[in-house]
Symmetry: C2
Protein backbone atom coordinates (compact mmCIF):
# COMPACT_ATOMS: atom_id res chain seq x y z
CA UNK A 1 0.00 0.00 0.00
CA UNK A 2 1.22 3.50 -0.84
CA UNK A 3 1.57 6.82 0.91
CA UNK A 4 -0.51 9.43 -0.89
CA UNK A 5 -0.30 13.18 -0.55
CA UNK A 6 -3.55 14.75 -1.74
CA UNK A 7 -3.70 18.42 -2.62
CA UNK A 8 -6.93 19.98 -1.33
CA UNK A 9 -8.01 23.04 -3.32
CA UNK A 10 -8.70 22.00 -6.94
CA UNK A 11 -8.46 18.29 -6.12
CA UNK A 12 -11.10 17.74 -3.41
CA UNK A 13 -13.08 20.91 -4.11
CA UNK A 14 -13.08 24.10 -6.16
CA UNK A 15 -14.07 27.22 -4.21
CA UNK A 16 -16.01 25.10 -1.70
CA UNK A 17 -17.83 22.99 -4.35
CA UNK A 18 -16.95 19.33 -3.85
CA UNK A 19 -15.51 17.64 -6.95
CA UNK A 20 -18.06 14.95 -7.96
CA UNK A 21 -16.97 11.57 -6.58
CA UNK A 22 -14.22 13.02 -4.39
CA UNK A 23 -15.73 12.05 -1.03
CA UNK A 24 -16.17 8.45 -2.19
CA UNK A 25 -12.68 8.35 -3.72
CA UNK A 26 -11.06 9.30 -0.41
CA UNK A 27 -13.07 6.54 1.28
CA UNK A 28 -11.94 3.96 -1.31
CA UNK A 29 -8.27 5.00 -0.98
CA UNK A 30 -8.50 4.49 2.79
CA UNK A 31 -10.31 1.16 2.37
CA UNK A 32 -7.50 -0.02 0.06
CA UNK A 33 -5.08 0.60 2.94
CA UNK A 34 -3.28 3.67 1.56
CA UNK A 35 -1.95 6.17 4.08
CA UNK A 36 -3.15 9.66 3.18
CA UNK A 37 -2.03 13.17 4.05
CA UNK A 38 -3.90 16.24 2.86
CA UNK A 39 -1.40 18.88 1.77
CA UNK A 40 -2.58 22.44 1.16
CA UNK A 41 -0.82 25.69 0.34
CA UNK A 42 -3.62 27.70 1.87
CA UNK A 43 -2.29 30.66 3.86
CA UNK A 44 -5.56 32.09 5.11
CA UNK A 45 -7.07 29.35 7.29
CA UNK A 46 -5.74 27.38 10.23
CA UNK A 47 -5.70 23.59 10.20
CA UNK A 48 -8.73 23.48 12.50
CA UNK A 49 -10.73 25.78 10.19
CA UNK A 50 -9.70 23.84 7.10
CA UNK A 51 -10.65 20.53 8.76
CA UNK A 52 -14.06 21.90 9.68
CA UNK A 53 -14.53 23.22 6.15
CA UNK A 54 -13.65 19.87 4.55
CA UNK A 55 -15.86 17.91 6.94
CA UNK A 56 -18.75 20.27 6.11
CA UNK A 57 -18.26 19.20 2.47
CA UNK A 58 -18.60 15.55 3.49
CA UNK A 59 -14.97 14.46 3.72
CA UNK A 60 -14.08 12.15 6.62
CA UNK A 61 -10.87 13.92 7.58
CA UNK A 62 -9.19 14.45 10.95
CA UNK A 63 -7.38 17.73 11.60
CA UNK A 64 -4.09 15.93 12.18
CA UNK A 65 -4.20 14.46 8.66
CA UNK A 66 -4.04 17.99 7.26
CA UNK A 67 -0.76 19.76 6.61
CA UNK A 68 -0.81 23.55 6.25
CA UNK A 69 1.96 25.99 5.37
CA UNK A 70 1.64 27.27 8.93
CA UNK A 71 2.52 23.79 10.24
CA UNK A 72 5.68 23.76 8.18
CA UNK A 73 6.57 27.28 9.30
CA UNK A 74 6.12 26.19 12.94
CA UNK A 75 8.36 23.19 12.33
CA UNK A 76 11.12 25.02 10.45
CA UNK A 77 11.14 28.18 12.60
CA UNK A 78 10.57 26.49 15.99
CA UNK A 79 11.70 28.61 18.94
CA UNK A 80 12.60 31.62 16.80
CA UNK A 81 11.51 35.22 17.15
CA UNK A 82 9.34 36.01 14.14
CA UNK A 83 7.99 39.18 12.56
CA UNK A 84 4.95 37.67 10.83
CA UNK A 85 3.11 39.47 8.03
CA UNK A 86 0.39 36.85 7.59
CA UNK A 87 -3.38 36.66 7.54
CA UNK A 88 -4.70 36.35 11.11
CA UNK A 89 -6.49 33.06 10.22
CA UNK A 90 -3.27 31.05 10.21
CA UNK A 91 -1.79 32.37 13.46
CA UNK A 92 -3.23 29.36 15.33
CA UNK A 93 -0.90 27.07 13.35
CA UNK A 94 2.25 29.05 14.20
CA UNK A 95 2.71 27.25 17.52
CA UNK A 96 6.08 27.53 19.24
CA UNK A 97 7.04 30.76 17.48
CA UNK A 98 7.50 34.03 19.33
CA UNK A 99 5.62 36.59 17.26
CA UNK A 100 7.17 40.00 17.82
CA UNK A 101 7.50 43.46 16.26
CA UNK A 102 11.26 43.98 16.40
CA UNK A 103 14.58 42.21 16.96
CA UNK A 104 13.31 39.25 14.95
CA UNK A 105 15.35 36.22 13.90
CA UNK A 106 13.19 35.87 10.83
CA UNK A 107 10.57 37.71 8.78
CA UNK A 108 7.71 35.46 7.66
CA UNK A 109 5.48 36.60 4.78
CA UNK A 110 2.15 34.84 4.28
CA UNK A 111 -0.33 34.93 1.42
CA UNK A 112 -2.95 37.59 0.81
CA UNK A 113 -6.71 37.09 0.93
CA UNK A 114 -9.75 38.99 -0.26
CA UNK A 115 -10.53 40.68 3.04
CA UNK A 116 -9.55 44.15 4.19
CA UNK A 117 -6.93 42.64 6.47
CA UNK A 118 -4.62 42.20 3.46
CA UNK A 119 -4.14 45.96 3.07
CA UNK A 120 -3.40 46.36 6.77
CA UNK A 121 -0.91 43.47 6.90
CA UNK A 122 0.95 44.55 3.76
CA UNK A 123 1.03 48.24 4.63
CA UNK A 124 4.06 50.39 3.87
CA UNK A 125 4.82 50.67 7.58
CA UNK A 126 4.81 46.89 8.05
CA UNK A 127 6.93 46.34 4.94
CA UNK A 128 9.35 49.02 6.16
CA UNK A 129 9.52 47.22 9.51
CA UNK A 130 10.25 43.93 7.73
CA UNK A 131 12.97 45.64 5.69
CA UNK A 132 14.64 47.01 8.83
CA UNK A 133 14.62 43.53 10.43
CA UNK A 134 16.16 42.02 7.29
CA UNK A 135 18.79 44.76 7.27
CA UNK A 136 19.59 43.88 10.89
CA UNK A 137 20.24 40.28 9.90
CA UNK A 138 16.85 38.53 10.09
CA UNK A 139 16.25 35.77 7.52
CA UNK A 140 13.39 35.97 5.03
CA UNK A 141 10.78 33.17 4.81
CA UNK A 142 7.47 32.98 3.00
CA UNK A 143 4.55 30.57 3.00
CA UNK A 144 4.46 30.79 -0.80
CA UNK A 145 5.60 33.22 -3.47
CA UNK A 146 2.47 33.31 -5.60
CA UNK A 147 2.08 36.19 -8.01
CA UNK A 148 -1.73 36.36 -7.99
CA UNK A 149 -4.83 34.28 -7.54
CA UNK A 150 -8.19 34.10 -9.22
CA UNK A 151 -11.23 35.58 -7.44
CA UNK A 152 -14.84 35.95 -8.52
CA UNK A 153 -13.94 39.55 -9.49
CA UNK A 154 -10.84 38.53 -11.44
CA UNK A 155 -7.13 38.23 -10.68
CA UNK A 156 -5.82 39.74 -7.45
CA UNK A 157 -2.28 40.59 -6.36
CA UNK A 158 -0.80 37.97 -4.03
CA UNK A 159 1.99 38.29 -1.50
CA UNK A 160 4.68 37.10 -3.93
CA UNK A 161 4.95 40.78 -4.89
CA UNK A 162 6.00 41.68 -1.35
CA UNK A 163 8.33 38.71 -1.05
CA UNK A 164 10.06 39.68 -4.30
CA UNK A 165 10.22 43.35 -3.22
CA UNK A 166 11.83 42.49 0.12
CA UNK A 167 14.24 40.08 -1.60
CA UNK A 168 15.32 42.96 -3.83
CA UNK A 169 15.76 45.59 -1.14
CA UNK A 170 17.54 43.24 1.28
CA UNK A 171 19.52 41.51 -1.51
CA UNK A 172 18.51 38.07 -0.29
CA UNK A 173 16.48 35.03 -1.37
CA UNK A 174 13.41 34.03 0.62
CA UNK A 175 13.02 30.44 1.77
CA UNK A 176 9.64 29.22 0.53
CA UNK A 177 7.94 26.97 3.11
CA UNK A 178 4.82 25.85 1.22
CA UNK A 179 4.73 23.63 -1.86
CA UNK A 180 6.94 23.17 -3.89
CA UNK A 181 9.61 23.49 -1.18
CA UNK A 182 11.56 20.39 -0.10
CA UNK A 183 10.71 21.26 3.54
CA UNK A 184 7.01 20.96 2.81
CA UNK A 185 7.22 17.55 1.13
CA UNK A 186 9.69 16.29 3.73
CA UNK A 187 7.30 17.18 6.56
CA UNK A 188 4.40 15.39 4.87
CA UNK A 189 6.42 12.24 4.18
CA UNK A 190 7.79 12.21 7.71
CA UNK A 191 4.27 12.43 9.13
CA UNK A 192 3.37 9.30 7.09
CA UNK A 193 6.73 7.65 7.81
CA UNK A 194 7.03 7.16 4.04
CA UNK A 195 9.89 7.10 1.54
CA UNK A 196 9.64 9.57 -1.33
CA UNK A 197 10.16 6.87 -4.00
CA UNK A 198 7.14 4.93 -2.74
CA UNK A 199 4.86 7.94 -2.29
CA UNK A 200 2.42 9.65 -4.66
CA UNK A 201 1.64 13.32 -4.92
CA UNK A 202 -1.78 14.05 -6.42
CA UNK A 203 -2.45 17.64 -7.46
CA UNK A 204 -3.86 20.08 -10.02
CA UNK A 205 -0.92 22.51 -10.07
CA UNK A 206 1.89 21.56 -12.46
CA UNK A 207 4.53 23.72 -10.79
CA UNK A 208 3.56 23.60 -7.12
CA UNK A 209 2.39 19.97 -6.97
CA UNK A 210 3.87 17.96 -9.83
CA UNK A 211 7.31 19.48 -10.46
CA UNK A 212 7.87 20.06 -6.75
CA UNK A 213 7.10 16.43 -5.90
CA UNK A 214 9.17 15.13 -8.84
CA UNK A 215 12.17 17.12 -7.62
CA UNK A 216 11.63 15.53 -4.22
CA UNK A 217 11.79 12.06 -5.77
CA UNK A 218 8.07 11.29 -5.57
CA UNK A 219 5.70 9.80 -8.15
CA UNK A 220 2.94 12.12 -9.36
CA UNK A 221 -0.63 12.09 -10.63
CA UNK A 222 -2.17 15.19 -12.21
CA UNK A 223 -5.94 15.74 -11.98
CA UNK A 224 -7.77 17.58 -14.76
CA UNK A 225 -9.73 19.71 -12.28
CA UNK A 226 -9.11 23.00 -10.43
CA UNK A 227 -6.18 24.95 -11.83
CA UNK A 228 -5.53 22.40 -14.60
CA UNK A 229 -5.31 23.87 -18.13
CA UNK A 230 -4.63 21.47 -21.06
CA UNK A 231 -2.32 24.04 -22.69
CA UNK A 232 0.03 24.04 -19.72
CA UNK A 233 0.90 20.38 -20.27
CA UNK A 234 1.95 21.10 -23.86
CA UNK A 235 3.88 24.30 -23.10
CA UNK A 236 5.80 23.21 -20.06
CA UNK A 237 7.00 19.76 -21.09
CA UNK A 238 6.21 18.49 -17.58
CA UNK A 239 5.27 14.78 -17.57
CA UNK A 240 3.44 13.41 -14.52
CA UNK A 241 3.44 9.62 -14.01
CA UNK A 242 -0.32 9.64 -14.41
CA UNK A 243 -3.14 11.95 -15.49
CA UNK A 244 -6.75 11.35 -14.42
CA UNK A 245 -9.95 13.28 -15.15
CA UNK A 246 -10.49 13.87 -11.46
CA UNK A 247 -9.78 12.31 -8.09
CA UNK A 248 -12.86 10.11 -8.68
CA UNK A 249 -10.70 8.07 -11.12
CA UNK A 250 -7.69 7.86 -8.80
CA UNK A 251 -8.59 4.63 -6.88
CA UNK A 252 -9.03 2.67 -10.16
CA UNK A 253 -5.91 4.20 -11.68
CA UNK A 254 -3.80 3.25 -8.65
CA UNK A 255 -5.09 -0.32 -8.77
CA UNK A 256 -3.91 -0.57 -12.37
CA UNK A 257 -0.63 1.29 -11.70
CA UNK A 258 0.49 0.12 -8.29
CA UNK B 1 34.12 75.38 -22.67
CA UNK B 2 32.36 72.25 -21.46
CA UNK B 3 28.83 71.10 -20.74
CA UNK B 4 28.54 70.11 -17.08
CA UNK B 5 25.79 68.10 -15.43
CA UNK B 6 25.80 68.77 -11.69
CA UNK B 7 24.03 66.41 -9.34
CA UNK B 8 22.18 68.34 -6.63
CA UNK B 9 21.70 66.33 -3.43
CA UNK B 10 25.12 65.47 -1.95
CA UNK B 11 26.97 67.78 -4.39
CA UNK B 12 25.41 71.21 -3.79
CA UNK B 13 23.93 70.43 -0.39
CA UNK B 14 23.34 67.62 2.09
CA UNK B 15 19.85 67.57 3.63
CA UNK B 16 19.47 71.29 2.98
CA UNK B 17 22.91 72.28 4.35
CA UNK B 18 24.92 73.95 1.61
CA UNK B 19 28.30 72.32 0.93
CA UNK B 20 30.96 74.96 1.88
CA UNK B 21 32.11 76.81 -1.25
CA UNK B 22 29.37 75.32 -3.47
CA UNK B 23 27.57 78.61 -4.20
CA UNK B 24 30.84 80.26 -5.24
CA UNK B 25 31.90 77.21 -7.29
CA UNK B 26 28.73 77.36 -9.40
CA UNK B 27 29.37 81.08 -10.00
CA UNK B 28 32.96 80.40 -11.11
CA UNK B 29 31.88 77.61 -13.47
CA UNK B 30 29.41 79.98 -15.11
CA UNK B 31 31.99 82.77 -15.28
CA UNK B 32 34.38 80.38 -17.05
CA UNK B 33 31.72 79.93 -19.74
CA UNK B 34 30.64 76.37 -18.95
CA UNK B 35 27.04 75.42 -19.70
CA UNK B 36 25.45 73.85 -16.63
CA UNK B 37 22.43 71.65 -16.02
CA UNK B 38 21.38 70.56 -12.55
CA UNK B 39 20.35 66.93 -12.63
CA UNK B 40 18.51 65.43 -9.67
CA UNK B 41 16.90 62.06 -8.97
CA UNK B 42 14.53 63.61 -6.44
CA UNK B 43 11.04 62.15 -6.73
CA UNK B 44 9.29 64.15 -4.05
CA UNK B 45 9.54 67.77 -5.23
CA UNK B 46 8.56 69.47 -8.46
CA UNK B 47 11.08 71.50 -10.42
CA UNK B 48 9.55 74.76 -9.13
CA UNK B 49 9.85 73.63 -5.51
CA UNK B 50 13.41 72.41 -6.01
CA UNK B 51 14.38 75.69 -7.69
CA UNK B 52 12.96 77.68 -4.81
CA UNK B 53 14.75 75.44 -2.31
CA UNK B 54 18.13 75.85 -4.05
CA UNK B 55 17.74 79.64 -4.37
CA UNK B 56 16.93 79.80 -0.66
CA UNK B 57 20.34 78.17 -0.07
CA UNK B 58 21.99 80.93 -2.09
CA UNK B 59 22.40 79.27 -5.50
CA UNK B 60 21.71 81.45 -8.55
CA UNK B 61 19.68 78.87 -10.46
CA UNK B 62 16.73 79.22 -12.82
CA UNK B 63 13.99 76.58 -12.75
CA UNK B 64 14.60 75.70 -16.38
CA UNK B 65 18.23 74.75 -15.63
CA UNK B 66 16.94 71.99 -13.36
CA UNK B 67 16.10 68.53 -14.65
CA UNK B 68 13.88 66.29 -12.51
CA UNK B 69 12.82 62.69 -12.97
CA UNK B 70 9.31 64.03 -13.52
CA UNK B 71 10.58 66.04 -16.52
CA UNK B 72 12.02 62.90 -18.07
CA UNK B 73 8.82 60.97 -17.39
CA UNK B 74 6.82 63.72 -19.10
CA UNK B 75 9.16 63.58 -22.08
CA UNK B 76 9.26 59.79 -22.45
CA UNK B 77 5.57 59.16 -21.71
CA UNK B 78 4.17 62.19 -23.56
CA UNK B 79 0.51 61.82 -24.54
CA UNK B 80 0.09 58.48 -22.79
CA UNK B 81 -2.52 57.43 -20.23
CA UNK B 82 -0.67 56.87 -16.95
CA UNK B 83 -1.53 55.21 -13.67
CA UNK B 84 0.90 57.14 -11.45
CA UNK B 85 1.88 55.92 -7.97
CA UNK B 86 4.04 58.91 -7.10
CA UNK B 87 4.37 61.48 -4.35
CA UNK B 88 1.96 64.36 -5.00
CA UNK B 89 4.85 66.86 -4.98
CA UNK B 90 6.06 65.85 -8.42
CA UNK B 91 2.70 65.82 -10.19
CA UNK B 92 3.33 69.38 -11.44
CA UNK B 93 6.22 68.08 -13.54
CA UNK B 94 4.17 65.37 -15.24
CA UNK B 95 2.84 67.75 -17.88
CA UNK B 96 1.22 66.29 -20.99
CA UNK B 97 0.37 62.97 -19.32
CA UNK B 98 -3.19 61.84 -18.74
CA UNK B 99 -3.25 60.59 -15.15
CA UNK B 100 -5.99 57.99 -14.78
CA UNK B 101 -7.10 55.08 -12.61
CA UNK B 102 -7.70 52.39 -15.22
CA UNK B 103 -7.09 51.44 -18.86
CA UNK B 104 -3.60 52.87 -18.61
CA UNK B 105 -0.88 52.66 -21.28
CA UNK B 106 1.75 52.69 -18.56
CA UNK B 107 2.17 52.36 -14.81
CA UNK B 108 4.61 54.89 -13.34
CA UNK B 109 6.11 54.25 -9.89
CA UNK B 110 7.78 57.16 -8.10
CA UNK B 111 9.98 57.26 -5.01
CA UNK B 112 8.78 57.21 -1.41
CA UNK B 113 9.16 60.03 1.10
CA UNK B 114 8.93 60.38 4.87
CA UNK B 115 5.36 61.67 4.96
CA UNK B 116 2.18 59.72 5.53
CA UNK B 117 1.36 59.99 1.83
CA UNK B 118 3.81 57.16 1.12
CA UNK B 119 1.61 54.57 2.85
CA UNK B 120 -1.47 55.80 0.98
CA UNK B 121 0.25 55.79 -2.43
CA UNK B 122 1.83 52.36 -1.98
CA UNK B 123 -1.27 50.73 -0.50
CA UNK B 124 -2.23 47.15 -1.35
CA UNK B 125 -5.23 48.42 -3.30
CA UNK B 126 -3.10 50.74 -5.44
CA UNK B 127 -0.48 48.04 -6.03
CA UNK B 128 -3.25 45.59 -6.98
CA UNK B 129 -4.59 48.21 -9.41
CA UNK B 130 -1.11 48.62 -10.90
CA UNK B 131 -0.80 44.83 -11.23
CA UNK B 132 -4.14 44.60 -13.09
CA UNK B 133 -3.05 47.33 -15.51
CA UNK B 134 0.24 45.54 -16.17
CA UNK B 135 -1.65 42.29 -16.71
CA UNK B 136 -3.82 44.11 -19.25
CA UNK B 137 -0.73 45.14 -21.19
CA UNK B 138 0.40 48.43 -19.63
CA UNK B 139 4.18 49.03 -19.54
CA UNK B 140 6.02 49.53 -16.26
CA UNK B 141 8.13 52.65 -15.66
CA UNK B 142 9.76 54.00 -12.52
CA UNK B 143 11.47 57.24 -11.58
CA UNK B 144 14.17 55.24 -9.81
CA UNK B 145 14.52 51.77 -8.33
CA UNK B 146 16.19 52.70 -5.05
CA UNK B 147 16.12 50.12 -2.26
CA UNK B 148 16.14 52.53 0.68
CA UNK B 149 17.29 55.96 1.76
CA UNK B 150 18.81 57.42 4.88
CA UNK B 151 16.61 59.53 7.18
CA UNK B 152 17.32 61.16 10.54
CA UNK B 153 15.65 58.09 12.12
CA UNK B 154 17.65 55.60 10.07
CA UNK B 155 17.13 53.70 6.81
CA UNK B 156 13.67 53.68 5.26
CA UNK B 157 12.16 51.45 2.59
CA UNK B 158 12.07 53.09 -0.84
CA UNK B 159 9.84 52.39 -3.82
CA UNK B 160 12.35 50.02 -5.44
CA UNK B 161 10.64 47.33 -3.34
CA UNK B 162 7.34 47.97 -5.14
CA UNK B 163 8.99 48.21 -8.55
CA UNK B 164 10.73 44.86 -8.01
CA UNK B 165 7.50 43.33 -6.67
CA UNK B 166 5.49 44.44 -9.70
CA UNK B 167 8.26 43.29 -12.06
CA UNK B 168 8.01 39.85 -10.45
CA UNK B 169 4.23 39.49 -10.54
CA UNK B 170 3.90 40.86 -14.08
CA UNK B 171 7.04 39.07 -15.33
CA UNK B 172 8.42 42.26 -16.83
CA UNK B 173 11.33 44.69 -16.43
CA UNK B 174 10.61 48.29 -15.47
CA UNK B 175 12.12 51.10 -17.50
CA UNK B 176 14.00 53.36 -15.07
CA UNK B 177 13.61 57.04 -16.02
CA UNK B 178 15.89 58.74 -13.48
CA UNK B 179 19.67 58.43 -13.31
CA UNK B 180 21.41 56.17 -14.37
CA UNK B 181 19.04 55.65 -17.32
CA UNK B 182 20.19 56.61 -20.84
CA UNK B 183 16.94 58.59 -21.25
CA UNK B 184 17.84 60.81 -18.31
CA UNK B 185 21.34 61.67 -19.53
CA UNK B 186 20.12 62.07 -23.12
CA UNK B 187 17.49 64.60 -22.00
CA UNK B 188 20.08 66.62 -20.06
CA UNK B 189 22.59 66.67 -22.90
CA UNK B 190 19.91 67.60 -25.43
CA UNK B 191 18.86 70.54 -23.25
CA UNK B 192 22.48 71.80 -23.33
CA UNK B 193 22.90 70.84 -27.01
CA UNK B 194 26.04 68.97 -25.95
CA UNK B 195 27.82 65.81 -27.12
CA UNK B 196 28.33 63.14 -24.47
CA UNK B 197 32.10 62.89 -25.13
CA UNK B 198 32.58 66.58 -24.41
CA UNK B 199 30.36 66.68 -21.32
CA UNK B 200 31.10 66.12 -17.63
CA UNK B 201 28.90 64.48 -15.04
CA UNK B 202 29.69 65.56 -11.47
CA UNK B 203 28.13 63.47 -8.70
CA UNK B 204 28.50 61.75 -5.33
CA UNK B 205 26.82 58.46 -6.28
CA UNK B 206 29.11 55.90 -7.91
CA UNK B 207 26.32 53.84 -9.46
CA UNK B 208 23.70 56.46 -10.29
CA UNK B 209 26.01 59.28 -11.34
CA UNK B 210 29.42 57.93 -12.32
CA UNK B 211 28.75 54.50 -13.88
CA UNK B 212 25.56 55.74 -15.52
CA UNK B 213 27.34 58.68 -17.15
CA UNK B 214 30.33 56.53 -18.17
CA UNK B 215 27.97 54.10 -19.92
CA UNK B 216 26.49 57.09 -21.71
CA UNK B 217 29.95 58.07 -22.98
CA UNK B 218 30.47 61.05 -20.66
CA UNK B 219 33.47 62.06 -18.59
CA UNK B 220 32.96 61.98 -14.83
CA UNK B 221 34.10 63.69 -11.63
CA UNK B 222 33.29 62.19 -8.23
CA UNK B 223 32.93 64.48 -5.20
CA UNK B 224 33.88 63.23 -1.73
CA UNK B 225 30.69 64.63 -0.18
CA UNK B 226 27.11 63.38 0.30
CA UNK B 227 26.75 59.67 -0.35
CA UNK B 228 30.49 59.21 -1.02
CA UNK B 229 32.15 56.41 1.02
CA UNK B 230 35.91 55.77 0.48
CA UNK B 231 35.32 51.99 0.73
CA UNK B 232 33.00 51.98 -2.25
CA UNK B 233 35.78 53.13 -4.57
CA UNK B 234 37.96 50.19 -3.51
CA UNK B 235 35.20 47.57 -3.64
CA UNK B 236 33.53 48.47 -6.89
CA UNK B 237 36.55 49.03 -9.15
CA UNK B 238 34.79 52.07 -10.64
CA UNK B 239 37.26 54.73 -11.86
CA UNK B 240 35.97 58.27 -12.42
CA UNK B 241 38.08 60.61 -14.58
CA UNK B 242 38.54 62.86 -11.57
CA UNK B 243 37.95 62.89 -7.81
CA UNK B 244 37.69 66.14 -5.85
CA UNK B 245 37.10 66.81 -2.15
CA UNK B 246 33.98 68.76 -2.95
CA UNK B 247 32.44 70.90 -5.66
CA UNK B 248 34.47 73.79 -4.22
CA UNK B 249 37.56 72.25 -5.90
CA UNK B 250 35.83 71.59 -9.22
CA UNK B 251 36.57 74.94 -11.00
CA UNK B 252 40.32 74.62 -10.35
CA UNK B 253 40.31 70.93 -11.27
CA UNK B 254 38.59 71.62 -14.59
CA UNK B 255 41.12 74.38 -15.44
CA UNK B 256 43.92 71.83 -14.96
CA UNK B 257 42.03 69.00 -16.74
CA UNK B 258 40.21 70.69 -19.61
Amino acid sequence: MAAILLDVDGVLHVSGETIPGAVDAVKRLRAAGHRIRFVTNSTTKSRADLGMHLRSMGFAIEDDELQTTGDVAARVLKGKRILALTMPGILDDLVGLELIGMNADAVLIGGADEGEETGRVFSYLNLNRAFLELQSGADLYCLHKNRWWQTAEGPRLDAGAFVAGLEYVADTDATVLGKPSPEYFAAALEALDADAELAWMVGDDLEGDIVGAQRHGMRTVLVRTGKFRPDDLDHTGIVPDGIVSSIAQLPDWLEQNP
